[in-house]
Subunit: 411 residues, 2 copies
């Protein structure tokens, strides 16, 4: 039998699991303090829901579950790959949420402000920092077009990051409608916009020349490409620059409102308009945002408005906006810097000779009112065992029949 | 798109999710206070590990994940069902733990006392109370044959159940070795024992006559069946009765030690030997135990010793024993009796006119030091909205620009 985990998934040692628990708990508590309610949805979704969900690239990364019994036999005869599976593992928490809302909306507050902290799955090509099983920490506000929803999500997400010791970051914000208006002004056709966005999204990786080459390769007009290149090379490309290009565009005001409101609520928060911010999902319709760690580089949270996704489950159209913390990135950063959990409950060992099991249990019980207490039979090499306890983060020990009081293990 | 969850899985509303969170948190904290350390393992396991794991009936209930890309194409040509999947969803937490221990043992304390609280999957025929996605709460002690491990697991599990308001239950205990010795004395052959156990396991459902008929149908000797029937109809069939049948059997002492030690540590705990207790898994080797709710009927926790499972991953044999709380049964019971979470953080709403968003945010921020605070725009029918808040478990509200102080919502 194989002792390693399957590719792209991890086992977590006790110290790692303790940090993960702590971080998820802190994020949950911050979200709850800001009035969001936790919900839970299944990891497994109907395969059709997943396939039709406009998840962009992620649709190619779905883990599919094999049909069972007679249905599988029939499917095998048909020899059609599509027929083989009836369910799949979710690739994000937004699609399950949309289904959930459609199914339960009469039992929920309106607007509905909710939390999901849970696992998602993507069949990524395994590489450093890319997991196939990972956690996301999402908050969403469903049922309002008011931009106060965007403001609340940004303020809450920033607070959660601060509460877990991720202090230095900036929020970037863009709007799909504004970006499309700018690209249209540059001369791109309506049917070209999504493809142009995909190329712009690679700016970080392939540089401006790379983006220009890719667009030329796609056969777009040279004049439009030049115009876009000029915009992308304007630094900083501010909101007022955008407003010079398409002064009538309504979404300019949307960004303006969000920037001003966030600043008014939390003046210390760094937030800026960024024309190059795309966010991959096909379902975003308006605002998109991302948090970038200025200390550790890279995106640590992202989200946006998806006003049409829930409508796919209902006859009604239902506006919605969400923000998701990339938990694994946060966990990686804090592990790398040796982050210590503040104020955790003290953990000690009661060490005993086998014959003293019952009275040692009694001793442990007394310590348990204030400590986490593990019982261990006294090993031959007690000193070595104490070293192991220290490695595991134990704070002290008590040797039954020998210690007069708790012995602390120093750092 | 389909708005319901896939068969055998559930969405949880905010109040339900809050109860689930609370229960898992209480169970976790109890386990930790007794010196167990939480670990985390992936939901996905290698399909071969699952297939070879001696999980009994559960091996027929594995959700398999379809291969992807070239590998899938090759498998489709072979048209062999077995070739189609490379991974599967775990059906319990014991198999992943065994793999985990084999992989990480040098980094762990010995004996290793650990917690897993997590999801498992079984492709059960959906029926009331049988879920396909559900949680288990496991504690295990790996690396010792000492029966103090069994005692610690029983004491800790009982404490966890008590801490979440499940007060009335009894612990049943049996031992595979003793049961096999008794059956051998009754005249069954070594190769017949597993099959006889499967029939005994149905005693609750089909009664003694049912068991006798089933065994006769399997073609076993009438004399052995009669002898077994006599034993099974002896009420109570005590440990001293068992000792009359096979006085030399070593495992009699094992059960005796566990019963006496548990009583010594917690005299209030009801615990008894039960010859009819089987527990289905093929991997159990010695002690098996189960907690039965005396108030709500049915098993709410179960486990046993599995001294050979980890050895399948290592050259070494490694003894181990575990106890698992069936979370969904507990959640069902507490939901049915309308269990209220004690001492939860108060949840309030700050209600405001759209124009007052920024000062309302400020008001909310002040309340957040002591409360969970949600912001809502004042709806036309405020009274109706307050009723909705009450339904959702809110404790109070504050209308910005109108309330002088927090208005409590009565029960």
């Amino acid at each position: 039998m194989k002792i390693s985990t399957v590719k792209g998934t991890n086992d977590y040692l006790p110290k790692e699991a303790a940090l993960r628990d702590y971080l998820m708990d802190q994020i949950l508590k911050t979200y709850q303090s800001c009035g969001f309610q936790r919900i839970m949805t299944p990891v497994i979704e109907d395969i059709e829901n997943l396939d039709k969900s406009e998840g962009g690239e992620n649709l190619n990364l779905i883990f599919k579950i094999l049909k069972r019994g007679d249905k599988l036999e029939k499917a095998l005869e048909a020899k059609e790959e599509k027929e083989l599976s009836d369910m799949g593992l979710r690739y994000d928490l937004t699609l399950p949420l949309s289904r959930y809302y459609a199914s339960n909306k009469d039992k929920l507050l309106a607007p509905f402000k909710c939390i999901q902290i849970d696992r998602v799955y993507r069949a990524e090509r395994p590489q450093k920092g890319r997991l196939r099983e990972f956690y996301q920490c999402d908050i969403d506000i469903i049922g309002t077009t008011s931009l106060t929803a965007e403001v609340e999500l940004i303020i809450t997400t920033a607070q959660a990051l601060k509460n877990i010791g991720i202090g230095e970051f900036k929020v970037k914000i863009n709007n799909r409608k504004l970006l499309k208006a700018i690209l249209t002004t540059a001369g791109f056709g309506a049917e070209e916009l999504d493809s142009v966005c995909i190329s712009i999204d690679k700016l970080d990786k392939i540089g401006l020349d790379g983006v220009k080459n890719e667009l030329a390769g796609k056969g777009y007009a040279a004049a439009s490409i030049e115009k876009l290149a000029e915009i992308l090379s304007t630094k900083p490309f501010t909101l007022s620059k955008a407003s010079e290009i398409c002064p009538e565009e309504e979404s300019l005001k949307e960004i303006q409102f969000i920037l001003e409101s966030v600043k008014a609520v939390n003046s210390e928060l760094e937030i800026d308009y960024d024309i190059t911010l795309i966010r991959g999902q096909g379902y975003y319709t308006g605002t998109v945002f991302e948090v970038e760690s200025t200390k550790f580089r890279g995106a640590i949270a992202g989200g946006g408005r998806y006003d049409n996704l829930i409508g796919k489950f209902l006859n009604d159209s239902v506006p919605a906006v969400g923000f998701s913390i990339g938990f694994e990135r946060i966990f990686g950063i804090l592990t790398d810097i040796g982050y210590q959990i503040p104020d955790r409950k003290k953990q000690i060992a009661v060490i005993y000779e086998e014959k003293d099991f019952l009275p040692a249990m009694e001793t442990a019980k007394n310590f348990r009112e204030t400590h986490n207490v593990a019982l261990y039979v006294k090993p031959k090499k007690t000193g070595k065992f104490i070293d192991r306890l220290k490695e595991q983060g134990y704070d002290g020990f008590f040797i039954y029949g020998q210690s007069e009081e708790l012995q602390l293990i120093g750092d």
